[in-house]
């Protein structure tokens, strides 16, 4: 219905000049207002994070008594020293890294294989299998907590890296399959047919054609999933108990002391340390990441 109205538009040869003029004539009040509004909203999004960083440089006393909006009266790295004393931040970062890597390898490899079977090889029940994977996108992760806890307990998998990696990868798999399938659609049939005529079987085609062509999609899938896996709290909190396996989100909880008393400035320093790796990756690769997030929902 929407597409039907498209032909009604005038031919695309409309000269660009009128567009320019029209823009110039637009009331400036409207433009200024929307600019101010955008600025305000961006401040609301970014200021709390800037405040987080500034507070991590404040002295404890300054935080407890001062005006929260004021700049710190003096800068100190004390909080960072205390942050590293209180918790084992390096250990937490390493654990998060291991879990993120492990889950990503599974998500990429298995997602690509499933998409290859469904989209390229094809089989009788492919529509049914595709539907089966769709369930994982809609269903909330909480449904798996109790069963997995019980199952892990019976096969001694509680409190291991795998106990986090399995559900993280499992629940991310559908989206990965979906992204790979929609990319595989763009690989021309003829490529495969030519390779088949040359005697390449499904395994060689996968290794020599599909895999090398998918590099961009792999980057997208890894970037998008890394955000969610790196930050996962619920699976780690349910399945991991020992200090040595705690990922960053769990490690941060150690900063809540006895009686719920929190050393805020040290905690903020710890938060700053732990969000830095992902933040850096995001700022460096934000173009690719933004593209990935956009394509995740709009390709459908």
């Amino acid at each position: 219905m929407i597409l039907q109205s498209a032909p009604a538009a005038p031919p695309t040869t409309a000269p660009p000049a009128p567009t320019f003029k029209r823009r110039r004539r637009k009331p400036t009040l409207h433009r200024t207002l929307s600019r101010v509004l955008i600025m305000l909203i961006v401040i609301v999004q970014v200021y709390p994070l800037a405040w987080l960083f500034l507070t991590s440089l404040r002295t404890e006393q300054d935080f407890a008594t001062g005006d929260p909006f004021a700049l710190p009266s003096s800068l100190t790295w004390e909080n960072y020293a205390r942050a590293f004393e209180t918790g084992d931040l390096w250990r937490n970062i390493l654990n998060s890294f291991i879990v993120t890597m492990g889950a990503n390898i599974l998500i990429v490899l298995l997602g690509m294989m499933a998409a290859y079977a469904i989209q390229v090889l094809g089989f009788r029940w492919s529509r049914f299998v595709r539907g089966l994977f769709l369930i994982g996108i809609i269903v909330p992760v909480q449904i798996a907590l109790v069963p997995l806890f019980i199952d892990y307990a019976s096969i001694n998998l509680l409190d291991t890296y795998l106990s986090m990696i399995i559900p993280l990868a499992g629940f991310a798999l559908p989206m990965s399959i979906y992204l790979f399938s929609s990319f595989f659609e763009y690989i021309p049939r003829e490529t495969y047919e030519a390779a088949s005529l040359d005697g390449a079987g499904p395994y060689r085609i996968f290794g020599l054609i599909t895999l090398p062509l998918s590099v961009n999609t792999v980057v997208t899938v890894v970037l998008v999933n890394s955000i969610f896996i790196w930050n996962d709290f619920i699976f780690a909190n349910t399945f991991v108990l020992s200090e040595e396996l705690k990922t960053i989100p769990l490690g941060l909880q150690n900063y809540i002391g006895a009686m719920g008393k929190v050393d805020w400035t040290a905690t903020f320093a710890a938060v700053c340390v732990t969000i830095t790796p992902l933040l850096l990756v995001f700022l460096v690769l934000n173009k690719a990441m933004i593209q990935g997030l956009e394509s995740g929902a709009t390709k459908g």
């Binding site: 538009a9 955008i38 999004q45 089966l132 909480q142 995001f282 459908g300």
Partner: protein
């Protein structure tokens, strides 16, 4: 289909992912369904109780209903902030000529930060002693009488734990909607403007109908994410004070891992799944029907 593929090759590629998916997602769903008909604390013998858990949940559990309505309000606040905010910012962004990329990046920043960090960040923002950002801001703009300890006031705590979740993901949905908006053919918009269409008509008659498929996807995403919201309320207030910020998810979690009532917790999680499926069905029904009208 690839010409010289064999049944074995299909299985080789399909079986490993299917196994992981079954182990992590499909089998646990069935297991939850199964457990929801039992009473079990994880140690003693499992006892089959039929529909007793469901009857107890729907007719005799006030906390369940309280959590259910809390979860709906939580969802409503998230949807307004995420989808409403996303649509406004995406629309404003299309009228901007420079700095779009920068604003997109800045706007998305909170999505990169973990929920634990966000919970830690917002507790002092809401605090009254020492005075937090929110109370200080209210004081400055002359609304000092609204100052309060947002997280211990039973009237405000639910909104206070919902807002950070909305804040966190609004950038994500903005990106998606923005990508759809700039795909609206320019000729279409220009023709409408030449015909004298106002900004508002342009939006309601041209732009919005054009992005409706994407809007449906984002609404489904935001709704299912909102219904599974857990981390921030759990970390900030643990459902309190009393049950005033208890959601179905936090209630389920506590039932399972604090009261170790695995059977009843499974019943609640089955309800959450049904709730999600109903919500998705409802969105498709309402938004698709409007599109056909």
């Amino acid at each position: 289909m690839l010409p010289n593929r064999s049944k074995t090759s299909v299985l080789v590629f399909l079986l490993p992912p299917l196994l992981l998916y079954c182990a992590a997602v499909l089998f646990p769903i069935l297991q939850s369904l199964f457990l929801s008909f039992f009473s079990w604390n994880g140690i003693s013998e499992m006892e089959f109780v039929g529909f007793a858990n469901y009857v107890r949940m729907l007719t005799a559990d006030d906390i369940f209903w309280r959590s259910f309505f809390n979860a709906l309000l939580y969802l409503a606040i998230c949807l307004v902030l995420q989808l409403g905010g996303a649509l406004v910012v995406a629309s404003l962004l299309t009228s901007l000529r420079r700095g779009r990329e920068l604003i997109k990046t800045l706007y998305l920043l909170p999505a990169v930060i973990s929920t634990v960090a966000i919970a830690f960040l917002f507790v002092p923002i809401y605090s009254i002693e020492p005075v937090g950002l929110l109370n200080q801001l209210l004081h400055w703009i002359g609304l000092g009488n609204l100052e309060r300890a947002w997280l211990s006031d039973v009237n405000t705590v639910l909104a206070a734990v919902s807002a950070p979740e909305g804040w966190r993901f609004t950038g994500l949905y903005m990106l998606i909607i923005y990508a759809a908006l700039i795909a609206v053919p320019k000729e279409l918009e220009e023709a409408a403007v030449l015909d004298g269409a106002s900004k508002w008509t342009l939006f309601t008659k041209i732009r919005f109908p054009y992005i409706r498929p994407v809007w449906i996807t984002t609404t489904i995403m935001a709704t299912t994410y909102g219904l599974r919201g857990f981390d921030i309320p759990y970390l900030m207030t643990n459902g309190g004070p009393g049950q005033s910020s208890e959601l179905l998810t936090t209630y389920m979690y506590k039932t399972a891992f604090t009261s170790t009532d695995f059977g009843y917790a499974s019943t609640i999680s089955v309800f959450i799944v049904i709730e999600c499926l109903v919500a998705v069905g409802l969105i498709l029904f309402l938004l698709k029907r409007k599109a056909d009208a």
